[in-house]
Amino acid sequence: MEARGEGREEKGARLSRRALARRVAGKLMLALAVLVTTNLIGSFLLESEGTLGGVAWEAFRQASDVDTVVVGASYAQRGIDPDELDSCLGSSTINLGSPAQPLDDSYLAVKSVLSRRHVRRVIVGIGCESMFSTWGLRSEVPYLQGMLQGTTLSEAAEVYLGRMTDPQYVGTCNSLNLLFPWAYDFTPSPQRVVTNLEGKLDDTTTLSSAEEQTKHWSYHGKGYGTFEVQFHPTRNDATSTSRYGNRPFLAARVDALLRICDLCREHGVECVVVATPHPTFDILAYGSYYPRSMGRLQRAVERHGAKFYDFNLYKGGRRLGKDDFSDFDHLRHAGARTFTSELAGILYRAERGQDVSKSFYGYDDWDSYLDSVDYVAGVSAEATVRGDGSVTVAATVRTGRPRRAQLRFEAKVGGSWVVLRDWGSATSVTWTPPAHGAIEVRVRARIPGADPTGTYVQKTFLR
């Protein structure tokens, strides 16, 4: 009897275990179904229709002939004009760059392109920031979605699984959030959601939706678009260094770039890595970090069979001014056209076997580059407010010849400019403003003889 009772108990326990397993499995299935449904509804309601990456990939799919593609982050996307390149070289170029595009995505893009078209040249546009920034999914997912449109489910699954299990992602929330693209392509503005929804219901094209949703963005064709905003370096003295820091290049980023080089070599495609132009003051602000880091990268890229051109060290051509840039590291359309025609010239000469290395300053010859900047490229100022009410304004002159630079400090008092310290080599001044509140300060910089007009920065500080 006892044994039979035990057997019944055991059976009961097994049954309850089975019931528990069924219950857990049922709930898991239900949760999964709800998750998928919510994701689909969320994507329809909130996911932006027009992304810049989507526009680029649409241009790629629609192009009848493509022999050159441009990949990379905003440096490439806003800096390389396919029309200019094609008119100089007779090529058929599509710009597949996108804002904040990680080099891992550039690699996927090149891989996808090589599997679909017979291209002969890949241009990768980079800057220092491309080599260490982690931008997150907000920029990645829309780009991947644009790339995967029209591909098979297995291709899409391969890309998504590859990204989810990538060592950079697998241990972070991004590994799961990748499955909720609408959450990353969603700017929390009700107006934008309505516009987006209207666009979807009206069958608005990706391009018109992107133009509507991306402020100041103008599309010029073949995947290429720029932000046409006026740059005011005299009011905004930010630099790449002040904004992002001089951080060491990440091995994963360098590895991704080298994988692009290798992939191109395997497919017999020419790979050109291009450092796009920044304003000169931005390059000077990097200091010795720039030639050291970029020099190492150039050597690595060339070892992997690709060409490397840094157009910040380009000797010829027109010196790009503030009207050519939209901020401290991006080109506007005018600047991009100038730069692209210079790039086309270099590619043309290189194609014909000419040695183009003489057209650039070398990273190991940094002093020569500095000597060439015999003018004041920029000036920045910082203010420190002390407890006793005094303010110290310290300035930094961006020039290849800082020792020869002269500075003048002025402040606006009662509506007129008062000189705090007249032209001299001192780089700071301490002053006690007459009252609390906003203080407008202007610092002028010049190099006597070489650059008599110089430039200035005008900033407002709170005391």
Partner: protein, 526 residues
Amino acid sequence: MELYSLQFAIFLGSSLVATYALRRLAPRWQWVALLASSLVFYCLEGGGSTLLYLVGCALVTWAAPLGFQRLDERCRCLRSQAADRAQRKAVKVRFARAKRLVLVLALLACFGVLAYLKYWNALLYQVGAATSPTSLGLLLPLGISFYTFQSVSYLIDAYQGKFEPQRNFAKHLLFVSWFPQILQGPINRYDELAPQLLDPQTPAADQVDRSILLFGYGLIKKYAIANLTVSVIAKIFSHVTPAIPGSAVVFGILLYSAQQYGDFSGGIDMVEAVSELYGIRMAPNFRRPYLSVSLADFWRRWHISLGRWMRDYVFFPLALTRPMRTLGKWGEAHLGRHVGRTLPACIANIVVFVIVGVWHGPQAHYLAWGLYNGIVIAMADLLRPATDALAHALRVRRESGGYHAFQVVRTFLVVNLGWYFDRIYDFGDSLLCLRNTFMHFKPQALVPFLDAAGLTSAGGWGLWIAGVACAFVLVVSLYEEAGHDVRAAVLSSNVVTRWFLYTAVCLMLAMAMALGSGGGFMYANF
């Protein structure tokens, strides 16, 4: 590895399958699956190189209690052979000394490693022997404070003969390394945790649901509160200048209040939930601390397991020492009965909070924060007769709801004043911010200051979502404080309400994920 990540999901899934499979096939050995999971987790999260510290700590705290046991046995044997009482007493004294020596050596080994890794570089930097506080490149192993404190509690309890020491090193290692606790606690006790680890019970189906709810609640706290406020707080306090308006300081401190609670208690909720999935309940670590009625009450509700540890292994041993008792008698004779009785506890409290402050880091502002908490609690105890008399004179009805609310608000303010010394990483800046809070509040300067500090529109949206999440947590906390079981209430509600709640929570989390950044826990490397 974040707790919300594919890697953790795969790890947890595999570990649960392995544990439940062993539970079915060889129940006696299921603890092996728990140990393997814990070690794998440690290697994935903390890196294999720092595993040695954990194993070393476990080895010391496993061997020493076995040494105590052997000494006790030998002592008993020799005492039974002793000729007279005096000889038996001499044997007892000799072995007590030997046991104490073993205890002290083991404590020195455990705390020595912790102190070396955590403070040595900073100390060298302070005396000018190191170029920076991190120049030696000493790696702080994951959860070192938590497993050290937990191991030491086992060591001292074993010394005091509270339980039989564990003979199997692997089982002891499991107690020290149990993976849900390793990130940031709680600091569990051997007699509470070990029996569950060695013979875990299958959780009932509703327990699994409760665990999932708790995990979700932790996710909200971490992702919708902590992660959405952290960057704004950093923007406010990254460059403290004399011009910082008091309104911005108060705003930043209030956000920090939310961030710290969200990060720490959210993380604890998640790991408690994970542990419950294995049928193992860990020690509670938070009990609605912002609804406390005094600072002492706050510290009984915030990081409860550390508070218990400090009470049992620092506070009582110190307050009950002979010099303290002498001081108490002196106080009773010269300053009155109340002072005499509370003075030892006050001093012990100050010492405890100085230790807690230094535990947070070797910087002056943490010491100030510890002292602030210790002194406020000590003064509240010492001045209790005066405050009682004042309340009586003012005819305050202490049992009224209004007075309770007043106490909660007062405690919240006192706690937040303390956060000035915790979050603002320079002691001088903390004082400056305090001054500006009272002397230059300037509410109209708050928005321009935040704009100048670089608060983006996305950051602003993040703060709104964090605000909604805080309100949600407050409602849950008030409901719990009233004695209700929120998880049971949710699970027993009708299907529409339940799924409406789940959807709302998921949407809030999704928006939080979109706007916030990921990242580990604040206390992970303490």
